[in-house]
């Protein structure tokens, strides 16, 4: 369904903004090229839950945007099931870091965007209801975005994305800005949902524990320009995972912290 291969991916931006501070630094000059991603090679298996870690500003969102077809690589290729990504497609739904729900529509209408192709009204309604129920927003169908909490908004957006039945979900920091408990619940929900639908999910997070608890594969990107430091499959650790009791995860956790430049972890 969605086997992803990223080959020799490079991304450079032309700096259009004037920066006063560093007139001598060639990277900040107007018109200078900024290399964000360099020689990225990655391969994700079909149905994997991939968690991408990396320091802020290293190019994670840039990579996800190219994966979704919103942006073009400067060089290199992204292949999904052997086909090069040419532009946005409803086979790969991007769940936005900031709110991508349309505020002038109700939750129901937002989810409906994903199933517009179903002509039969009754059938369409059933599908919409199914996904709203799945993310436990039953009863909030006619609510508008502003009437929902942060966690409910993410769930609504998730429902909208899932209703499309895409081959792949792309999520950019889906838990940012959620309170601790909601975050824990969302983690669980996404893991359950992934086990249930089995679609490939590529998710960026800046929380190492998110990645360790959720991921089938953990990718660590670091440096400027960003390179892949780790791309490791986590085998044989079933969900729900308890980080403390799994020595493999503990070791990996320490390694990840070290690679991100933090040496002492409590």
């Amino acid at each position: 369904m969605a086997h992803i291969k990223i080959e020799n991916l490079n991304k450079r931006y032309i700096n259009r903004r004037k920066t006063r501070r560093d007139d001598d630094n060639p990277e900040t000059k107007v018109g200078a090229e900024v290399v964000v991603l360099q020689d990225i090679n990655l391969e994700f298996e079909d149905g994997e839950m991939v968690c991408i870690l990396g320091s802020s500003g290293c190019g994670k969102s840039t990579m996800l945007r190219m994966l979704a077809g919103f942006d073009r690589p400067t060089s290199g290729r992204i292949l999904i099931d052997g086909e090069q990504v040419k532009g946005p497609s409803s086979n790969y739904i991007y769940v936005f870091q900031h709110n991508g729900l349309l505020p002038w529509m109700t939750i129901w209408q937002n989810v409906e965007l994903g199933v517009r192709h179903i002509k039969d009204e009754e059938e369409r309604g059933d599908v919409i209801q199914e996904y709203i129920d799945m993310v436990e927003l039953t009863g909030f169908e006619d609510h508008h975005i502003y009437q929902l909490s942060g966690g409910m908004r993410r769930r609504a957006e998730l429902a909208r994305a899932l209703a499309v039945e895409p081959d792949m979900l792309i999520m950019d920091e889906p838990f940012t800005g959620l309170d601790f408990l909601t975050r824990m619940k969302m983690r669980e929900e996404v893991v359950n949902m992934h086990e249930y639908i089995g679609k490939t999910i590529v998710m960026v997070t800046h929380d190492i524990d998110d990645a360790l608890v959720m991921g089938d594969r953990i990718v660590l990107m670091a440096g400027t320009p960003a390179e892949v430091k780790v791309s490791q499959k986590i085998l044989d650790v079933p969900h729900p995972r308890n980080l403390e009791k799994e020595p493999t995860l503990c070791n990996l956790r320490e390694e990840l912290y070290l690679k991100l430049g933090v040496s002492h972890v409590a």
């Binding site: 077809g69 946005p88 505020p103 002038w104």
Partner: protein
């Protein structure tokens, strides 16, 4: 709660009293400076003989026609300019050049081109609303969050769906605001327009009464203009609360 109604009423009565005192003290003739009682009396007189109704309808007709024309042309054009960069680059300087020209400066051309009667007046109303609506729609469309267009691309929206599901709903709050603004401008301009080219309307009533030295009728015209202006603003304010515009107040 009560203060909201009582306080303005008290202010109003005090102003009328001062007005009355000034009129009695300065000794000018009633025709030049009528007092409040005379004015109210004249309002009644013009209401009962149908004159006021006739002129008000004439003015409202012109405002409505010019305003609707400006909205029907200006808003879609503004959307096109806001969405298509090439067209904006081509037309924006011209628009910005024409915009600051007061609609009243068009009076001579309007009269020469369109003669007298309703057309030049409607044209002037149109000119007073058109550019404001055009530019504010354009800016509103340009400032729609790019995320929504990415969502549209991701969900495979057709061009038509992008317009109906993203662009239009996204700009409705701003458009309602600028409609409220422009209807007020239109109401200002219609009075001036009716002083030059027509034989009816509240502007004509004022001008004609001045020529007849009936300052009480002039005041009736002014009072009516004020009252209708308030009413128009109230209607537009209600419009801002309709379903599809309300979300803008939550941003």
């Amino acid at each position: 709660m009560n203060r909201r109604y009582i306080l303005p009423l008290v202010t109003f009565i005090i102003i009328c009293l001062i007005w009355d005192v000034v009129v009695r003290a300065n000794g000018w003739s009633v025709q030049v400076f009528p007092g409040p009682l005379v004015a109210i009396n004249s309002v009644w007189e013009l209401i009962t003989n149908g004159t006021l109704f006739k002129h008000t309808v004439a003015s409202l007709y012109r405002v409505t026609a010019g305003f609707y024309l400006a909205a029907l042309i200006g808003i879609p054009l503004g959307m096109i300019l806001g969405r298509i960069k090439v067209i904006k680059d081509a037309f924006n300087p011209l628009i910005q050049f024409l915009r600051p020209i007061s609609p009243l400066a068009w009076i001579p051309l309007a009269v020469i081109w369109l003669g007298i009667g309703d057309p030049p007046a409607i044209f002037l109303i149109f000119m007073s609303c058109f550019f404001t609506l055009l530019v504010s729609t354009m800016i509103a469309v340009e400032s729609i969050s790019p995320i929504y267009f990415q969502v549209a691309a991701n969900f495979g929206f057709s061009r038509y769906e992008v317009i109906t599901k993203i662009v239009i709903p996204a700009v409705i709050p701003e458009i309602v605001t600028s409609l409220r603004l422009t209807v007020a401008i239109a109401w200002l301009v219609v009075v001036a327009a009716e002083m030059i080219a027509v034989q009816s309307g509240l502007g004509y009533l004022i001008l004609d009464s001045r020529n007849a030295l009936r300052m009480d009728y002039v005041m009736v015209g002014m009072i009516t203009i004020g009252a209708i202006g308030l009413l128009l603003d109230y209607i537009m304010l209600r419009l801002a609360r309709v379903d599809c515009a309300f979300w803008g107040s939550l941003k």
